[in-house]
Symmetry: C2
Subunit: 197 residues, 2 copies
């Protein structure tokens, strides 16, 4: 099923002005003025984000590594795949290896880049690279100061059931579950690369 190229020029919005609305400790917000396809103008307010990674780490017993972390904006402890933001200039795989080690203590001998997701396309530039990791070696985690999270593991079937019953509502983790289900079914193959530990 090849995807035919699609002409989207009639949908594109072009920047005409830019204004910085907020430079917080964490959030950076811009407002661009854009020219719409019909020539009129509109405002676009959005968060500038450095990008992030998520890691679907496969244990030798078939389970996957998960975290439980309190997410203040939604006022809930969420079940998630390990994830984190890119440091300035940091390659995606280096970030994935760093976040998995820091948050869970695991290192992995094999890695595969599955795909990419955009979590909030109407108000954030953020992209999340979806990595798979396998041939895991357990070690000591190295949480940042002020970081509190539980690490545990579950079977893919259990995780999928949690996606169905509302236990898992984190968008990136639901997207990761789609990848996990189709990879395990042999439908979505991955290209693995071997890394030194």
């Amino acid at each position: 099923m090849p995807t035919p190229p699609v002409d989207t020029r009639h949908l594109v919005e072009h920047q005409t002005r830019r204004e910085e609305l907020l430079k917080g400790q964490f959030l950076h917000v811009l407002r661009d003025t854009v020219r719409l396809p019909d020539g009129s103008e509109a405002g676009r307010e959005f968060i500038v984000h450095p990008g992030a990674v998520m890691v679907i780490a496969l244990l030798d017993d078939g389970q996957v590594v998960l975290e439980r972390q309190y997410r203040y904006p939604v006022q809930r402890a969420m079940v998630e795949f390990p994830a984190g933001k890119l440091d300035a200039g940091e390659p995606s795989l280096v970030c994935a290896q760093r976040e998995l080690l820091e948050e869970t203590g695991y290192r992995a001998k094999q890695w595969a880049l599955a795909g990419r997701l955009h979590p909030a396309i109407s108000y954030a530039t953020e992209t999340i690279d979806i990595w798979f990791a396998r041939k895991l070696v357990a070690g000591e985690r190295q949480l940042d100061a002020g970081e509190f999270l539980d690490v545990f593991s579950a079977t893919p079937d259990q995780l999928l059931h949690w996606c169905f019953d509302g236990t898992v509502t984190d968008g990136k983790t639901l997207s990761g579950a789609l990848w996990l289900q189709n990879f395990l079914a042999g439908q979505w193959p991955l290209e693995w690369q071997t890394q030194g530990l």
Copy 2:
């Protein structure tokens, strides 16, 4: 596979102060100071969002209704399920019916609430209710001024292939594809309700 209750009290963050950082035309940003589990303090900056809906609309020929829309923050035309924000006080199903009609022209006789997702748990309060719709009747769409998007349809297999090959990267749509795949496989049943048109 019942989900055991989990004690998450050791992870919870408690608000101690609140400050409004930005009240834009579109984005509303707060900074709360929170007490962490170890008693120390930290800042949490986040977008206050009214909530949203997404609609997975099943055509009688087995295809699903999709949109192609330019999303300025990611500078790309994205393939998405129809979606939109709740108006103040608007019930979720009313919003789903309104957005499907306005953006695609379709009304649906049967609706089912599948689940909920949180697209950006580290910096937004947003929740998206995931609705399925079937028994569709086509009509005229009613786009807002300044809204430009293409409506088309695809088979679930084509959509899933686009999720695999990187054509679809929108997080809510990837999460919706997980629901679609498992609903169609008979794994994730839905409770349908019939609506007057």
